[in-house]
Subunit: 334 residues, 2 copies
């Protein structure tokens, strides 16, 4: 931990402070590249999301990993903007797919404008992200990010078919989570190492860190949906339940369900026949089978795996912050 | 014209015959890359479109331009598959945006499955297309195709805001058309030259050919919407009118409208208040101002520009076929 920041500060805030200059450059580049000479709708929709005060966690991971590997060139900024554009594009498309009306505590773009704008501006940001990565001139970086983009889309499609299907097991859940969350985290950390010319062992370790951190992050998100404080998380308890999503707590409870419980899950998740008191009953079942505790234990194990990966990474104040970040991600539920 | 095909054969059929072996390789690669280990929905949705019997015009342009520049390597096949994937992805997203229920004479994917699948499978194909182009190892090709993807999305967003707005003029129309159609045509022909290592003058000529051919193609498409034979075109007369799209014939008629006519266009296009007999009245106005003839003349001029560009391209049987293709595109309306 560096001496000039108090221990009480959250790790992502310490990362933001340490990387402030780089992050300013990323924000300038994002504003520059989200512009459109001909279609003012594009920066309007994009600004609504990127200026909504997200934590910029993913671009910070790219900046941090590049810097801790000693990078001094300009392209980590391009890659951080790339990662944020891909993330923003997937949020725009997700909100259309989920028919959401709230994101980061504000109305979604598909509600403020329309689904058409969300689909097409998302496509524009995907294209812009590819332009940015092409500018780095690194074919390896392009390969990593193109693969991540395919994994993300595949995970989202898999989630569509896995939703509402009680046969979804932990293996399928993990594939969905790698797609929807961990693939971009691991690409963000891996390209940081690659652009810095780090050796293969470090690049591999940074990939593993991002992958495990992303999985822990998503498991915690899914856990909070059944037990979080909506004023802190911006999520309402039971959103996933109402949307009939099979997330890890439910998968664990279904695996231990007796016949009567299975009939309940089938009615509320598969058939979508939900009545007053069903959410409370679901929460009681999760509790009865220790599903919340077991899910929490999985998140903690992935955070531990993320931290362990950092053992192979060069010592650096940023490495310490990344380690603390892994703890912080699961601290919300422990 | 080559001696072994009868003069009566359509130019895209002669291209298909000449390029049959390459095209087989493209189809194998497309089927291989549209697969998904985890999400069977992806190849289902993709197959519905790519096996619906489209003409494969865009990938043929890439194969033809690479071959006529003497290319003997394997990557024109990757680039042709890339172009077809980008095209298929934009069709999937277009059908969501337009809320279409028919494409190539069959129900659209958003109707057979759902909007979610169309959005996400489209994203998957975009990502797959980038993986394919990364495999070519050519940063210049990546640059061209990333720029094309951005132009396509920008054109689609511009079309959203230009639709239903009588202030849309021919300049804006041209920007929309470059985005929705010509950008992928010109990228398809340009990368063919680039991958073959053709000199700059030829690459530039191939770009211009694709750009002008794409514009001619789209103008003809828009013209047929007001005067084509629906059994041949698969389009119903007046679809664009009912969807209140401002295409070139209407833009030309609006530019010459008197006050009463302007009030009519404002009611049917801007306000969307359409009544029995309005389409017939619109057709009469297009006729009165020579808008159909003037639009047809524009299409012919772009086809001529496409052919003129080929003067700078090496003589080759494929060059002749591309020249005939430009004539054929506008022959449907002349």
């Amino acid at each position: 931990m560096s001496l000039d920041t108090p221990a009480a500060t959250k790790p992502h805030e310490r990362l933001a402070t340490h990387l402030a200059e780089d992050m300013d450059a990323v924000n300038v580049l994002i504003r520059e590249r989200m512009a459109s000479e001909h279609a003012p709708r594009i920066p309007e929709v994009t600004a609504h999301l990127v200026e909504a005060g997200g934590k910029r966690l993913r671009p910070m991971l790219t900046l941090a990993t590049a810097r801790l590997c000693g990078y001094t060139g300009p392209y980590h900024v391009h890659l951080a903007a790339t990662v944020e554009f891909i993330h923003t594009a997937t949020l725009l498309h997700d909100d259309v797919v989920d028919e959401s009306n709230q994101r980061r505590g504000r109305p979604t773009a598909n509600l403020l404008w329309d689904n058409q704008s969300s689909v097409l501006v998302g496509d524009y940001l995907f294209a812009r992200s590819f332009q940015l990565m092409v500018e780095t001139g690194s074919l390896r970086v392009l390969d990593i990010l193109a693969n991540a983009a395919a994994t993300i889309a595949e995970g989202e499609v898999l989630q569509l078919s896995a939703a509402q299907d009680l046969a979804t097991d932990e293996d399928i859940y993990l594939k969905v989570v790698r797609g929807k969350t961990a693939a971009l985290f691991s690409a963000a950390t891996e390209v940081g190492g690659v652009i810095a010319g780090a050796d293969e062992a470090q690049v591999r370790a940074l990939f593993t860190y991002g992958d495990a951190l992303g999985i822990a992050f998503q498991i915690v998100d899914d856990l909070l949906d059944y037990g979080g404080d909506s004023t802190k998380t911006g999520k309402n308890i039971g959103d996933d339940f109402r949307e009939r999503k099979l997330t890890l707590p439910v998968i664990k409870a279904v695996a231990k369900a007796d016949l009567e419980e299975r009939a309940f899950w089938s009615r509320v998740i598969e058939k979508g026949d939900q009545r007053d008191g069903d959410l409370e009953h679901a929460l009681a079942l999760l509790d009865r089978h220790g599903a919340m505790a077991a899910t929490r234990a999985d998140a903690v194990a992935y955070a531990a795996q993320a931290k362990a990966a950092l053992e192979a990474v060069a010592p650096h104040p940023l490495t310490d912050m990344l380690r603390d970040l892994a703890d912080y991600v699961v601290a919300r539920v422990t």
